[in-house]
Amino acid sequence: MNREKIGWALFLIGFLIACIFALSIPGIETIHPVNSYFAVLLTGELLLLFGFKKIWAGTLIDKLKIVIGIILLLFSGLKLIMAIDSLVFLWFFLGITLAGMGAALLGNAQSQQKAERKEKHFINPFERLKEIIKEIDKITLEQKGESANKKALENIKMNFLMPFAENRHHFALQYGVDLFAEFFSFFSTGERYINRAWSSLVDNAADESAHSLSKAKEYFERAYKALQEEYPRKNI
C-alpha cells in the first residue's frame, strides 16, 4: 500500500473516532483543571505534525521535533488519563492524533506527487496567451460588425479563456504562488475587460467595446511579460 492510501486510511479512521467522541466530550469545567496538560498535548501534536511531514527527507531538527513531540504526547497523554475521569477525552485525542498523522502522510505524499506532476505535465501558458492575443487582434482588425464581434467575444470566453482558467492549479504548481498570483491577476483583469467589451457591445457602445478590447489585450500581454521575465527559457 502506498503512502497516500495509508494517509487517507489513518485520517478517515482517526477523524471518525474523534468526531464520534466529540459528541460526548464533557463540559469545559471538567477540562479546566487539566488544561495545562491539554496545552502540552496540543504542542506535542503540532510538533509531531510538522516534524512528521518531513520524516523521509527531514533534517536533524525535524527528527528532533518528532522525538520531542512523542515525549510530550506520552507525558501529557498519561497525565491526562490520570487527571480526568472520562475516557472520552482519550479516545478523542487518539482520533485526532491518528488523523493528524494521516494528514501529515497525505501532505507528504501529495507534495511528492506535485513535484512529479510538475516535471511530467508542463502546461505551456505562453502559447495559449499568444492565441488569446491573436484572437483579440482578429476582432480589432477585421471589423466584421457588432453581431460578429459579439460571437467572436463569446468564442474567446468559451474556447480560450475558460480552458486557460481551468488550468490555474497547474500554473500555481508550475510557477509558485507569487508568480502565479502576479500573472494570473493580469489574466483575470484581461478577462474582465473581455466581459466589459461584450457588455458594452450589447449596450451599443462600440467605442467602449473597442477600448475594453485594447485594455484586455494590454493585460494579456502583461501576463505574458510577467511570465517571460521569470521564465524566459520556457518561452518556446
Partner: protein, 559 residues
C-alpha cells in the same frame, strides 16, 4: 462623437439608494414577522432594467450593476439588525440609540473594507462561484446572451416559482421524506428540501461543493445515530421531533460552528501565501499605475479599518453602562479581529455554497464578548450587531464583485459606491425596528414574533447561565482545523457548514452538485457554462422573487 459608457451615473445611484431604502424597510418588517431575511440584488437588477433601460431609455449593463450593488449594500444590513437589536428591547435593557447606530455603522464599513483585499484571491485567483452573484450577472446580461440562454433562464424561473407556489398552496410537501420511505429513524433527518434555489446553487458549484453535503451525511448518518445508540443523548421518552432537536441543538450545531471556525483559522494559515501574493499584486498595480486604478488603494482599506475601529470603541464607551476604557478597547480589538475572520468564513461559504452562517458567527461573537465583558449584555449585543452587519456586508460585497467581474464592471466603482452608502442601511433598519417597537410592538406572542432575535435571546440567557457549549466549540474547532490541513481547499469550513445547517438543505445542495458532476462527465465544462448556469440562475432568481412576492402578500393580508 464618442460618448462615455454609462457606469456610475446619478440615475444608478439615486435608484440604488431609493430601492435600498424601500427594501430595507420592507425586509426588516418581513424578517421580524417571518424569521428570515431576503437578498435584494435580484429584485434591484430587474427593477434597474425597468427604470434605467425602460423608463430612462439609456441604461447600460454595468450601470445596472452599480444600481444593484448600492441597493443590496443598503438592504443587507437589515438582516444583522433584526437578529441582534430586538434582543435588547425584548430583554428590557436600557441603551442609547445613537451609539447603537454608530456600532452598526462601524460594522457596515468594516465588513466592506476587510473583504476588499480578498477579491483578488477569491474571485480572480481561486475563482469561487458565488452562486447569487452569478445569477444576478445572468439577469444583467440576459438581453444580449442569446435566445437559448434567455429561455433557459425563464424556464428555470418558472420551475422555481411553480415549486414555491405549490408548496405555499399546500399542493406539494416542503421536503421529500427520503428517511421515512427508507425506514430510517426521524433523528437522521433524511429528507431533501424542495428548493430549486438550493439545488441551483449546487448545480452552479459542482464537485467543489460536495464536502458540504458530506458534512451533513457525517452528522446525521454517523454521529446522530451513534449519539442515540450509545445513550449519550438521553431519550427519556422524548418524542422523535424533540430528540432530533436535542441532538441538533446540543451536539451537532455547536460542533459544526466550532468546525467552521477551526477550519477557517487553518484555512487562513494555509492560504496566507496566496492572500499575501494577491495583496502584493494590488500594491504593485497601484505603485506602477499600469492600467489605471482598478481596485481601492490598500491605504484606504487600512484607513477604513482604523476609523471603524474607533467608531466601534466610541459606541461601546458611550452606549454600554459599566464598561471601562481597557475593557471597551479589548472588546473592540477582539470584535475587529472577529469581523475579519468571520468575514473570511462568510466569503468562503457564500463563494462555494451561497449560504451565510450568520447566526452561528454572531453567536460566537456574543459568547466571546459576554466572557470578556463579565456578562455585560448591552456591550456584547453592540459588538454582536456590528459583527452581524459586517458579515452581511462581506457576503454582499463579494457577491456584487463577482457579478461585476462577470459583466465587466470596475471593482473600484462598486467598492466606493458600497462604502459611500454604508451609513444608510444601519440608519433605516434601526429606525424601522425602533418605530415598530414603539408603534405596534414585537416579540413572542405578537403579530411580529421576531423569531431570530428570540432565539438569540434564549442563547444569551443560556450563556449567562453558564450553559454555553464551549467544549463542543473547542473540539469542533480542532476537528475543523484538522480537516483544513488536508490538501483540499476549504474542507473544514464546508464540512462544518454542512453540520451546522438542517440536513434537508445540505442534501438538496448535494444533489445539485452530483447532477452537475454527472452532466460534466457526460458533456463538458463548456456545456455547463452555456446551458446549466442560466438554468440554475433561473432557479435561484425564481425562488428569491416568489418568496419576496409571497412575503409582501402575506404581510399585506395580515394588516
Amino acid at each position: 462623437m464618442k460618448s462615455k459608457y454609462r457606469e456610475v451615473t446619478p440615475a444608478a445611484v439615486i435608484l440604488g439608494i431609493f430601492q435600498g431604502i424601500i427594501m430595507t424597510a420592507a425586509f426588516v418588517y418581513a424578517g421580524l414577522k417571518l424569521g428570515f431575511s431576503l437578498g435584494g440584488s435580484t429584485i434591484a437588477a430587474i427593477m434597474g432594467f425597468a427604470v434605467l433601460k425602460g423608463l430612462l431609455g439609456k441604461g447600460s449593463i454595468v450601470e445596472n450593476n452599480i444600481n444593484q450593488t448600492i441597493a443590496s449594500g443598503i438592504n443587507t444590513t437589515g438582516a444583522g439588525v433584526i437578529f441582534t437589536l430586538p434582543v435588547l428591547l425584548l430583554m428590557g435593557k436600557q441603551f442609547k440609540i445613537m451609539p447603537m447606530i454608530l456600532a452598526a455603522f462601524a460594522g457596515s464599513i468594516m465588513g466592506i473594507v476587510v473583504i476588499i483585499p480578498l477579491r483578488k484571491q477569491m474571485i480572480d485567483l481561486e475563482r469561487l462561484r458565488f452562486p447569487s452573484g452569478t445569477a444576478v450577472a445572468a439577469i444583467l446580461t440576459s438581453p444580449g446572451a442569446g435566445i437559448t440562454r434567455a429561455l433557459l433562464l425563464i424556464i428555470g424561473f418558472i420551475f422555481s416559482m411553480s415549486a414555491v407556489m405549490s408548496i405555499k398552496m399546500g399542493l406539494i410537501a416542503k421536503e421529500v421524506p427520503l428517511g421515512i420511505w427508507l425506514g430510517l429513524p426521524v433523528y437522521t433527518q433524511t429528507a431533501i428540501a424542495i428548493s430549486l434555489m438550493n439545488i441551483g446553487a449546487g448545480l452552479l458549484t459542482g464537485k467543489n461543493g460536495l464536502p458540504f453535503a458530506l458534512g451533513g451525511c457525517l452528522a446525521y448518518w454517523i454521529m446522530a445515530p451513534t449519539a442515540v445508540m450509545t445513550g449519550w443523548i438521553s431519550q427519556n421518552g422524548l418524542p422523535a421531533t424533540e430528540l432530533t432537536e436535542a441532538i441538533y441543538m446540543t451536539m451537532i450545531r455547536p460542533l459544526g460552528i466550532g468546525m467552521l471556525i477551526g477550519g477557517a483559522i487553518m484555512g487562513v494559515i494555509k492560504a496566507f501565501p496566496l492572500v499575501k501574493a494577491a495583496i502584493k499584486t494590488i500594491q504593485n498595480a497601484a505603485r506602477s499605475g499600469f492600467g489605471g486604478q482598478e481596485e481601492l488603494h490598500i491605504q484606504y482599506i487600512y484607513l477604513g479599518i482604523g476609523v471603524s475601529f474607533i467608531i466601534l470603541l466610541v459606541s461601546i464607551l458611550w452606549g454600554a453602562k459599566g464598561i471601562s476604557l481597557p475593557i471597551a478597547f479589548l472588546l473592540s480589538v477582539i470584535g475587529t479581529f472577529w469581523i475579519g475572520l468571520a468575514g473570511l468564513i462568510v466569503a468562503e461559504c457564500t463563494g462555494i455554497t451561497d449560504i451565510s452562517p450568520l447566526s452561528g458567527l454572531a453567536l460566537i461573537a456574543v459568547t466571546l464578548m459576554l466572557a470578556l465583558s463579565h456578562n455585560n449584555i448591552t456591550a456584547s449585543v453592540f459588538i454582536g450587531l456590528a459583527v452581524c452587519v459586517a458579515i452581511g456586508q462581506c457576503a454582499d460585497m463579494m457577491q456584487d464583485l463577482k457579478t461585476g467581474f462577470l459583466v465587466g464592471g470596475k471593482p473600484i466603482y462598486q467598492q466606493i459606491a458600497q462604502i459611500c452608502v454604508a451609513w444608510i442601511g444601519p440608519l433605516v433598519s434601526i429606525g424601522v425596528v425602533l418605530l415598530l417597537w414603539k408603534g405596534i410592538g414585537f416579540g413572542p406572542g405578537t403579530d411580529l414574533p421576531a423569531p431570530q432575535a428570540a432565539a438569540l435571546q434564549a442563547m444569551i440567557e443560556g450563556i449567562v447561565g453558564g450553559k454555553a457549549p464551549l467544549h463542543h466549540y473547542l473540539s469542533g474547532s480542532i476537528l475543523g482545523g484538522l480537516l483544513s490541513t488536508l490538501p483540499l481547499g476549504g474542507l473544514g469550513v464546508l464540512v462544518g457548514l454542512g453540520m451546522y445547517l438542517p440536513f434537508s438543505i445540505t442534501l438538496g445542495y448535494g444533489l445539485g452538485c452530483v447532477i452537475n458532476m454527472g452532466i460534466e462527465k457526460l458533456t463538458s465544462s463548456r456545456f455547463i457554462e452555456k446551458y446549466i448556469v442560466p438554468l440554475a440562475a433561473g432557479f435561484i432568481v425564481g425562488e428569491a422573487l416568489t418568496e419576496l412576492i409571497y412575503s409582501v402578500i402575506h404581510i399585506l393580508g395580515s394588516i
